[in-house]
Symmetry: C2
Subunit: 337 residues, 2 copies
């Protein structure tokens, strides 16, 4: 068996890939939510001074990448790789950001699982000695996602109560070998799971089985104790998907309920902000990890964390072709020394 | 500096990640081209028995993944990771293939650079001891790409002579540590380069500067001799992009012309098959590598090869927003023992 593995599906990192800095940016609505004091940059204009929402989203990811390098005292030409992806067709925001930043670029697509997917790949590449500094991040924007996946905003469509609200936000981490800061210790790469949900306004239910599969695999592989975590955070399951995850894991004999939350439930005040089941989008777990969770790790309020970003791998074309929604979730386990 | 690097941007792999098997599949038009005897599976129906072209493309990538595992005597549950991506929004073909194959999945998006991007990531993950077996592949389909990026096929649009023909095809490799077979020795990850081309019917000119940057970086980092290669193959620059690449590299003092070709020029008979500047698409370098080049490596007709898959990171949205075309190219250097 490969030397850096434990159990069937989990990777054990041995050379202490460290998250040495992180930055979050969010839009106007997220800036009024309960986590507002944790985010680094709050926008009061969701166009961010650009001509289109897509260019605004690209500017968000550029901004967090630049800021994260700067916080670590690094110039962009000292960064070996940039890993990025988003929800938009051909990952326009990330690709255009990579053009401006001029860092060797690995584009990824895992829908809203991008934050964890990027952290998985970057921590393995750092652990294996292939790079000294990797920037990894993701973004989403309410307006780019709505017009691409659903309806033009101008239509003023109503949403069913199972729907979620795509976060306008971006988050990014800088990973480097064996430095001061929180270390990425384990990761579990997700399988694509599809239990037959075909309603793109019910992503939480579509994605929950993927989160269940990945979380269960990690604990099965490592025999770790869920209650040894300060927090286990899924990406954007919302209230409905969270409850399904708790229930399905309990059926498999695993109780994570004492330490479990969801970034999409944390980022908005669900009762007052009219977001139905909660936040969603790559930028949801991106900004909540790089803002809230990372700061709690640095302050030692959290010492052991699991981020499980969850992605729904549907496309408007697959929906039109009456396909169900395949989903994925990747887990990253981060600990303080 | 990270232990597995040489020069500014090149990664040196030390544990002999080996391509132990590979499979290619192509559509009806490609089955009449000059490389027809090298491809493993020739389709006479571009729907491959499915109801839509997108599902046909997904079935192509499923087919090469299954066949590649089978050739190496491996069951799918022995494969640690599957890496895949394609041109289609939300990488529908790859994501749906990953659902059927049930292998832990890392989705990537580098447009037509996917074949090399996947080989870069898989070879590093194998080299670092994070996996024993990784399947990595990509696909494209003339009909899915045309209706997504250009016009409905039913419109019967004419194309300018700078245009290329998207290959219907898929290719896949299985990478494993230190076995019998061709080894991935070096890789150079591309930067996103944009010299201002804004015509989506002139991809060769848009992508050539990215290929030039990556090829030049590899030789600058390693001081290797271009003429020590049996073949240097770009992904899908076509005749125009090839000439630009040769000219720009000569200006920088590097002459690769004796060993240089382009997968998009090789796959079709340009004079007789009415494909203008040649083939394009992820499946172009995917099928030409997994078919033609890999077989020549196995037969020792080639002993040292560079694959430089090239990707144009545009989207229909970026074109409508009057943006120019950012491009990328990743290089993988493969040698027989």
């Amino acid at each position: 068996m490969a030397i850096n593995r434990i159990g069937k599906r989990t990777v054990k990192l041995k050379n202490n890939p460290t998250i040495i800095s992180a930055t979050s940016i969010v839009g106007p609505k997220e800036s009024q939510g309960p986590l507002k004091d944790y985010f680094d940059i709050l926008l009061d204009d969701d166009l961010f001074g650009e001509k289109s929402w897509e260019l605004a989203e690209s500017k968000m990811i550029q901004t967090v990448m630049k800021e994260t390098a700067k916080k670590a005292g690094k110039n962009l030409d000292e960064i070996d790789f940039m890993i990025g992806g988003d929800l938009i067709n051909q990952i326009l925001p990330s690709s255009f950001a990579a053009r401006e930043l001029s860092i060797p670029f690995l584009g990824i697509y895992g829908a809203c699982s991008n934050m964890a997917e990027g952290m998985c790949i970057s921590s393995m590449l750092i652990d294996g000695g292939f790079a000294d500094y990797i920037l990894s991040g993701t973004s989403s924007h309410y307006c780019t996602a709505e017009r691409q996946f659903r309806y033009p905003l101008e239509l003023g469509n109503q949403k069913p109560m199972t729907a979620q609200w795509t976060v306008t936000g971006s988050g990014c981490v800088l990973v480097s070998p064996n430095k001061k800061g929180p270390k990425i210790k384990y990761l579990t790469i997700g399988k694509v799971i599809d239990k037959g949900i075909d309603d793109p306004n019910n992503m939480g239910a579509a994605m929950a089985p993927a989160a269940v599969d990945t979380i269960y695999s990690y604990f099965d592989d490592t025999k770790d104790d869920p209650n040894s975590f300060d927090i286990i955070a899924t990406g954007d399951l919302g209230t409905l998907g969270m409850q399904i995850t708790i229930d399905f894991l309990k059926e498999k004999g695993l109780d994570i309920s004492k330490v479990y939350t969801d970034c999409g439930v944390e980022i908005f005040n669900l009762k007052e902000q009219d977001v139905h089941c909660g936040g969603s989008g790559c930028g949801c777990s991106g900004s909540v990890f790089a803002g809230y969770i990372y700061k709690k790790l640095i302050n030692k309020e959290f010492n052991k964390v699991m981020l499980v970003s969850t992605g729904a791998l549907l496309s408007p074309t697959s929906t039109l072709q009456k396909q169900t929604i395949p989903s994925i979730a990747h887990a990253v386990i981060i600990e303080n020394d």
